[in-house]
């Protein structure tokens, strides 16, 4: 592994203080980014009836949003490296808000694809990359914990936004709900405001000594920033593939993402198939989200500890293997009739595995690439992850249709 440019940039992360406010901000930002495509599905039935769309047409909204969110990674990585986190997150929040507000007046599916899918997705992709990048700038020692807390935003927001959206839908119909949801997304701008830029100090000869880290940038600072940024930006995309660790990570995460979301999508259908009523089946996903909410920071805490931190990549691998094992065991420990308790236990363990993986997935990338290369690396990873993310669930669906019953699908995962 080539020595990272951080040798030139001797920045000591705060590891506390204002960093915790940044964690809150990133939590909000990531929360919206991951939960929005999921919670928007609550509105779909209503929009389907009103605009006369089929189920597959309406599902495209979420797919386009996810695709834009992931594919926009490299662009947002570049923007973050150039401008820093704060303006990008504020711009992202504004874009998301505008996208939902304009979607309020939509009367056709194409209009919704454009507004929510593309504009909303791009706004979210700006949020995603920058929130994680700034954590790398503010934390080093406690970074896994910070990452765990930040990634916990996804289940937290899912659990809170889902009933809120249901209430808004009943009260205001889908148009009013989109309007208010757009307003809520503007809170990403608040999150952006909290992300104070961190001034990078250079210890090369042409750098002047820096003032306090929280100083407002003046002219000399911007010049220094630019010269430091140049070295970061000289690592453009394709050299990452020479990094063995990066390639292994990439291959692993592609395989994981391919199978990761299928169980979530089919969990309630599986439960109903086993004879559980619809309401309890829906509860399973809530249970998973609740477990996930607590597991992510807990994993971050464990990963921050003295014993695990140096071996964090192995801990991550353990989490992935654990998740896979849980899915394999589910059909294998096949009791004559699946009881609800068994499914709840499976869901809890699934939630634990899923939470562990996602708490660590970006921490490990940060660990591999270093905070300077992280934005571009993250952008590249998410752009490539776009493909298995979009292919995974339909392929799983086809496997389901071909090889009934459900348990074969979990085995193939």
């Amino acid at each position: 592994m080539s020595p990272a440019p951080a040798d030139e940039l001797d920045h000591k992360p705060l590891d506390g203080g204002w960093g915790w406010m940044v964690v809150v901000a990133a939590h909000i930002s990531i929360g919206f980014a991951y939960s929005t495509p999921k919670v928007l599905s609550i509105f779909y039935k209503e929009i389907q009836d009103n605009l006369g769309a089929s189920s597959s047409e309406i599902a495209w909204i979420s797919s386009i949003m996810l695709a834009a969110m992931y594919a926009g990674g490299p662009v947002s990585g570049m923007l973050v490296t150039r401008f820093g986190s704060r303006p990008i997150v504020m711009a992202g929040g504004l874009m998301c808000g505008v996208s939902m507000v304009t979607a309020t007046f939509g009367n056709s599916m194409v209009y919704l694809y454009l507004c929510i899918g593309i504009i909303g997705g791009c706004g979210l992709s700006l949020n995603l990359n920058t929130s994680l990048t700034i954590i790398g700038k503010y934390f080093l020692v406690k970074r896994p914990l910070a990452n765990g807390l930040v990634m916990a935003g996804s289940p937290v927001f899912t659990v809170f936004l889902a009933p809120l959206n249901q209430y808004l839908l009943n009260r205001y119909g889908w148009r009013g709900s989109f309007l208010i949801f757009g307003g809520l997304m503007l809170n990403c701008c608040v999150a952006g405001a909290l992300m104070r830029p961190v001034i990078v100090r250079c210890k090369t000869s042409n750098c002047a000594p820096q003032k306090n880290v929280e100083d407002k940038p003046n002219e000399s600072n911007t010049k220094l920033k630019e010269s430091c940024m140049k070295s970061a930006m000289s690592f453009f995309d394709w050299t990452f593939f020479k990094d063995r660790g990066f390639v292994i990570y990439l291959v692993g995460s592609i395989l994981f993402i391919f199978g990761a979301y299928a169980p979530i999508l089919f969990l309630s259908a599986y439960a109903i198939d086993q004879g559980i009523d619809e309401f309890s089946a829906a509860n399973l996903l809530t249970i998973m989200a609740l477990v996930d909410m607590f597991v992510r920071p807990a994993t971050g805490l464990i990963a921050s500890s003295k014993w695990v931190r140096p071996r964090i990549q192995y801990f991550f691998s353990l989490a992935v293997v654990f998740t896979g094992t849980v899915h394999l065991l589910c059909p294998m420990i096949s009791i004559k009739s699946y009881s609800y308790t068994f499914l709840v236990t499976y869901t809890v363990f699934f939630g634990i595995g899923f939470g562990m993986v996602f708490a660590l997935i970006f921490e490990c990338l940060m660990d591999l690439m270093g905070k300077e290369r992280f934005p571009s690396a993250f952008g590249l990873v998410t752009m490539i992850e776009c493909i298995p993310l979009l292919l995974g669930p339909p392929v799983a669906g086809n496997t389901l249709n071909m090889h009934y019953p459900f348990k074969h699908m979990t085995e193939s995962y």
Partner: protein
């Protein structure tokens, strides 16, 4: 009187009875065809009861001569004779009180009912003394997929209200839509107001499109699945609100966001001003923070990963 006279008078009576019913009922679909009773198709439903009571649902589409048969194995008393009785919707059917003998260790009650129109549907009960009874609930296929939450839409917007008959139930011959007007139902005829109403009927589902909504459009809407025997109704509530209703919370949220962002940025400015004035006064503060940062970094390096990042 001869049998044919009896039949004729019965038919005339039936005719009069059905005519009366058509006039007093709330406006509904076209009156059912007046088929003479003896030309109706026949059907049989029988239930054998072991316990004390049982309810049997009977789904009917067309007028029919329905034979309802009840069999009861009796209880420990094993009476030789028991009084049998038929009730419709709780009221005793005339001339149905009879003595039922025990045959082959069971009691049998059988009666033919002419189910011609909606009035004839309902709950038919055969009673064995006051010891056992079997309920037959006669009804047209009911619309199962009922939406319990109101549909919310906006002034000037359009709304689509749907009704669906499940795959497992028979198809209705057509669909009608009604709007509640006080306690009455008024049929919506799309041809009269083509700009406002549009009804799209497919075999199993129906859509009512109401355009250019005004406040008066709010209220209950009924969709009726028409079968030869009767019409099954299902209701949906429509609420019409003005755009200002969601706009108010939206504006409140936007103002809150702007205020928060302003507070955060102003706080930061004031902090940095404080630090810069402190810097002017003395550099000791800066070095303190710098050394603190450095000691933290070095002290923890043994527990940190050894990667060169």
């Amino acid at each position: 009187m001869s049998a044919s006279w009896k039949q004729l008078s019965l038919q005339i009576l039936l005719l009069l009875v059905s005519c009366r019913h058509i006039n007093t009922k709330t406006p509904g679909p076209t009156a059912p065809p007046l088929i003479p009773i003896d030309q109706l198709p026949t059907d049989v439903r029988s239930v054998a009861l072991n316990g004390e009571s049982h309810t049997e649902k009977v789904e009917l589409l067309n007028p029919v001569n329905l034979t309802l048969e009840c069999t009861w194995t009796g209880n420990q008393d094993k009476l030789a004779n028991i009084t049998g009785l038929w009730r419709k919707d709780g009221e005793e059917v005339k001339n149905s009180n009879q003595t039922v003998p025990m045959e082959n260790d069971q009691y049998n009650l059988k009666r033919v009912f002419s189910i011609v129109n909606e009035e004839d549907l309902g709950s038919y009960t055969c009673e064995f003394g006051s010891k056992a009874k079997i309920d037959f609930v006669l009804a047209a296929p009911q619309i199962g997929d009922v939406r319990d939450k109101p549909i919310v839409s906006y002034l000037g917007d359009f709304v689509v209200i749907t009704c669906k008959m499940e795959e497992t139930k028979p198809e209705p011959s057509t669909w009608y839509w009604y709007k509640a007007n006080g306690t009455d139902k008024e049929q919506i005829i799309a041809a009269e107001e083509p700009l406002r109403y549009e009804i799209k009927n497919e075999e199993r589902n129906t859509k009512l499109v109401v355009s250019s909504l005004v406040e008066a459009d709010a209220g209950l809407y009924f969709c009726g699945a028409v079968y030869a025997i009767s019409t099954s109704m299902s209701q949906v509530e429509l609420k019409v609100i003005s755009f200002y209703e969601p706009l108010k919370p939206f504006v409140a949220i936007v103002i809150a966001v702007i205020v928060l962002v302003a507070i955060i940025l102003l706080y930061e400015k004031s902090q940095s001003k404080k630090n810069s004035t402190a810097a002017e006064n003395g550099t000791t503060d800066q070095t303190n923070t710098l050394t603190q940062g450095e000691t933290n970094g070095h002290g923890e390096s043994s527990s940190m990963r050894q990667r060169k990042v």
